[in-house]
């Protein structure tokens, strides 16, 4: 498999602070990769090193086979889009002038600026100075800037900060279209439930180290995380009886609220749950099975690493 980004044993020190510690990653081309971690885990620093903004203290990073420092990488940047965390733009420029300025720097076709502003829903405000934009509008303008020059590689740091639900939906639609066109997307967010459906693979960072790496499914399997079953019963009495029975059979009840039970189901015992539920007969109204989420996985990994 061809890799868009290869990070090999990379360290970054700021004085006495070790911001990134021996990180190695391989991000396959044409996939969406997530970087998740607590505040100060090293995500943004890693982003900046992958973009060649910050030099590495040790190790090596290659993007499409090219080391990120040097003349060759400069030209590669024309095909890279970057949306920084808390994007800052020039307040005195209009939205359109902002895009035109960055288009000139990237040698991108300036005619796409108005189309991009339309795509991110800023066509109506393109002539207004950025200082009059709301946080969400700035974020959308920052995203439009990242899309200049039809990038093959996108780095998006907390990209949905300040966006409304419709804009978030449109944002992920755009990402899906870019991915279909072959782009590689590297995404960082604290909103784990939001990004989970869009990721092919991820790395979890804690204190500058990668503590887990792979797809959500493979990491969940490796962590042996239980699923959750939500059982809707006819009444509270039925919920109590079924809960007692499942508990005795080794399915711990997590919560009981009125006539809804939430039960933890270990991977190895999933099939054992079904006969027990069948025995409940008419007392059981509905069943929902929730596989482990990225948030469960993240919390498990953090806990296992002693950082809970």
């Amino acid at each position: 498999m061809q890799h868009a980004i290869e990070v090999e044993r990379v360290d970054k020190r700021f004085g006495a602070v070790q911001a990134v510690d021996g990180v190695s990653l391989s991000i396959p081309a044409g996939t969406t990769f997530g970087l998740v971690g607590h505040n100060g885990a090293g995500k943004s620093t890693l982003f900046k090193m992958m973009l060649g903004i910050e030099p590495v203290s040790a190790g090596q990073i290659r993007v499409h086979g090219t080391p990120v420092r040097g003349a060759a990488f400069r030209w590669l940047r024309q095909r890279i889009g970057y949306l920084p965390e808390n994007v800052a733009l020039y307040d005195n420029l209009s939205g359109l002038d902002t895009l035109r300025f960055f288009a000139r720097l990237k040698a991108a076709d300036a005619r796409q600026c108005t189309d991009l502003l339309e795509q991110v829903g800023l066509a109506h405000a393109m002539k207004r100075p950025v200082r009059e934009y709301s946080k969400g509008m700035r974020q959308r303008l920052g995203f439009a800037q990242a899309l200049l020059g039809q990038p093959e590689l996108l780095f998006l740091d907390e990209p949905t900060n300040g966006l409304d639900p419709q804009a978030i939906h449109d944002f992920y639609d755009t990402l899906a279209a870019l991915k279909r066109a072959g782009a590689t997307i590297v995404l960082s967010s604290h909103l784990l439930a939001e990004i989970q459906p869009h990721l092919d693979s991820l790395a979890i960072l804690a204190n500058g180290r990668v503590i887990a790496q792979g797809s959500v499914d493979s990491l969940a399997a490796a962590s042996d995380l239980p699923s959750r079953a939500r059982l809707h019963t006819r009444d509270a009495d039925a919920a109590r009886r079924i809960g007692q029975r499942l508990g005795d059979a080794g399915f711990p009840v997590i919560t009981t609220a009125d006539n809804v039970l939430t039960v933890s189901v270990a991977r190895a015992h999933r099939t054992g749950l079904l006969p027990l539920l069948a025995e409940s007969g008419a007392a059981l109204v509905d069943v929902e099975i929730h596989p482990p989420t990225l948030e469960d996985l993240y919390l498990r990994q953090r806990h296992a690493g002693g950082h809970a």
Binding site: G52, A71, R77, L105
Partner: protein, 274 residues
């Protein structure tokens, strides 16, 4: 491409800086201030001798030199002190550095744009002072005034280089402001007093050997001496005829020192920013 630098990148960054200063009327404001002071001083420059009115170009240049030495370094330092640190503090620096642009191109592009704004304001401002004198000027007078304006531009660009160096070295705008003001005080006010103190302390012993060379350590003094040495009349008026080496009467000699004062701080800034 110039020495590994892309002209397109330099032009884009410089163009934005220049347009910003046109848009926020910085160039207009500075040009008006320079023109107003220049016209006032050109008119009233001879008041201490009991007369006012536009007099010879020599007197006007002497008066304008005294004006420019205080005003232009301050304007240049205020123009450039936050060029890089301001971008860092606002959070736009990372985005700029993610573009197909080297750090050297970003710094030099900013310098070129800010320098162009400074040159424009200087030409307009001091150009206005020339208008009332134009009818009396011969070729030598025009040459003298052109040399003066060129030296003002060099003075401004040397302090802009120092401002860029400050902007690269400090961590935040507050410190950059303090450093810029300190530089102004140091070069424009304190340096000459310190030199004078050293002369008094040594009772002027061997002063002719080291004092003139010490002046070259201050771009403001290089500017002052450049203009003081530009004609016989001014040399005598400033009382420098016998104190300074004769070779300094050639504008190319002190002109080269002024160019060095532009290039050296900018070179250090480039080295530090890389």
């Amino acid at each position: 491409m110039i020495g590994g630098l892309q002209w397109r990148a330099l032009r884009t960054v410089a163009g934005k800086e220049l347009r910003d200063r046109l848009r926020n009327r910085w160039i207009l404001a500075v040009a008006v201030v320079l023109a107003a002071f220049a016209l006032l001083i050109a008119y009233a420059g001879g008041a201490q001798s009991g007369t006012v009115g536009f007099r010879s170009i020599g007197v006007t240049v002497a008066s304008l030199t005294s004006l420019a030495i205080y005003l232009v370094p301050l304007i240049a330092l205020l123009l450039g002190f936050d060029a890089i640190v301001g971008e860092r503090e606002r959070g736009t620096l990372d985005l700029m550095l993610s573009m197909p642009l080297t750090r050297a191109e970003l710094l030099l592009g900013k310098y070129l744009g800010l320098g162009a704004a400074l040159v424009l304001a200087t030409l307009i401002g001091f150009g206005a002072a020339l208008v009332p004198l134009a009818a009396q000027l011969d070729a030598a007078g025009i040459r003298l005034y052109a040399l003066f304006v060129a030296s003002v531009i060099a003075l401004g660009l040397s302090f802009l280089s120092l401002a860029m160096l400050v902007s690269v070295l400090v961590r935040d705008r507050a410190r950059a402001t303090g450093a810029a003001i300190l530089l102004w005080f140091g070069f424009v006010l304190v340096f000459d007093l310190a030199l004078l103190g050293a002369l008094v302390a040594t009772a002027g012993r061997h002063s002719s050997a080291w004092a003139p060379w010490a002046l070259l350590l201050n771009p403001a003094d290089v500017f002052r001496v450049f203009n003081a040495m530009s004609t016989e009349t001014l040399r005598n008026a400033f009382g420098l005829g016998t104190l300074l080496p004769d070779a300094w009467g050639d504008p190319r000699v002190l002109g080269s020192v002024m160019v060095a004062w532009i290039l050296a701080p900018l070179g250090v800034a480039l080295w530090r920013f890389r």
